[in-house]
Symmetry: C2
Subunit: 177 residues, 2 copies
C-alpha cells in the first residue's frame, strides 16, 4: 500500500493515512479500463465522496472535485471534464487562473484564498480555496489538471497536494491520451 | 420556453413545469460549447442538483445522474461518461441491462423496479428504479444514453421520461460526436 505515495511511508498522520487508502482504492477502480473519460469520471466520484465523508475534513467541506482536460484540437485550452459538484466553467486557457497556471507551469498549486490569486476565474462563488495538480502523460506533457475546491479558505495543505498528485499520477498511468 | 418540450405545452402539472424550466437552463448551459464531455459533465451536474432540490421529488431521492457514451473504437460498447453520484460500472455492452437495452433499441426505458429487469446490471445496490433515454446524433445513430437512478422503487413516470428525453436531445444537438 505504501508504494502508492512514497513520501507518506513513515508518517502516522491521519490525513496521510487517508490518502494512502484513497490511492489504493483509486488503483483498484482504474484496473482494466484505459478510457480517460471513464477513469476521470469514476476517480472524481471516489475522491469527492471520500473527502466529503472523512472526519479529517470536518469544518473544511470540499464542494467540487474534477478534471479539466487539454482540448485535442486546441492544445493550449483546458475544457471541462468529468467532475462532482455544481456546474462549472467550460473552458480555461493555459496560463489563466489557478487551473490554467497549474497547466502552463506543470506545477501543483495550493491556494489558501482564491480571491487573492491574480487572475482567478470564479466559476462558483462558493469556492474559497483550491488545490490543482497537473495530469501528465508518460512523455511529461500536461494533458489536464485535477482540481479540488473547498467552501472555506485555507482548506488544503501539502498532505492534500501530495495525496492528490499521487492520485492524478495513477489516473494518468492508467489512461490513454 | 414551451418549445423545448412540445408535449408539455398545455399542462400545468408541477413536474412538467419543472422540466420545462430545467430544459431552458440546460439550453443556456450548453450555449457556445460543442465538446461532448464538457456538455455531458455540466448537464449531469445541473440535472442531478435540480432533481435533488425540487420538492416534486420528495420521498423519491435521485442518487445517480450521468451518461454512458458509445466507445469510438468498439461501437457496440457503452463506456462510463461524466456523471454525478457514487462510482459506477465502467463498461456495458449494447443489449445488456437497462442502459444497454435502451442503447440497442434506441428507445427510452422507465424501470419501476430494477431487480425485476431481465439481465439488470447492478452497479450500485442503492439504485432501485431507473429511467434511461438514448442520446442520438443528428443521423439517428445512438451515441450513448442518459441514465437517472433513484434509491426507491417506482420513482419515475412518463413526465420524467419526456423531460429527460428533451434534455438528452438538447445535449445531442449541442455537441459534436
Amino acid at each position: 500500500m505504501s508504494s502508492f505515495i512514497p513520501g507518506f511511508n513513515n508518517t502516522l498522520d491521519a490525513k496521510a493515512q487517508f490518502y494512502l487508502e484513497l490511492a489504493e482504492q483509486c488503483a483498484a477502480l482504474l484496473q482494466g479500463q484505459r478510457n480517460l473519460v471513464s477513469n476521470t469520471a469514476n476517480v472524481s466520484s471516489l475522491v469527492y465522496h471520500a473527502l466529503q465523508e472523512t472526519p479529517t475534513r470536518e469544518g473544511k467541506p470540499v464542494n467540487w472535485v474534477g478534471f479539466y482536460l487539454a482540448d485535442a484540437k486546441r492544445p493550449d485550452t483546458l475544457v471541462l471534464g468529468p467532475f462532482q459538484g455544481k456546474p462549472a466553467c467550460v473552458e480555461i486557457a493555459f496560463g489563466k487562473g489557478v487551473c490554467g497556471t497549474a497547466a502552463s507551469t506543470s506545477a501543483s498549486l495550493v491556494v489558501k484564498d482564491v480571491s487573492m490569486f491574480p487572475g482567478h476565474i470564479s466559476c462558483d462563488a462558493a469556492s474559497k480555496s483550491e488545490v490543482v495538480v497537473p495530469l501528465r502523460a508518460s512523455n511529461g506533457k500536461v494533458q489536464g489538471v485535477f482540481d479540488i475546491d473547498a467552501s472555506v479558505v485555507d482548506a488544503f495543505d501539502d498532505f492534500d497536494r501530495i495525496g492528490l498528485e499521487a492520485i492524478a499520477n495513477l489516473v494518468a498511468e492508467a489512461s490513454d491520451f
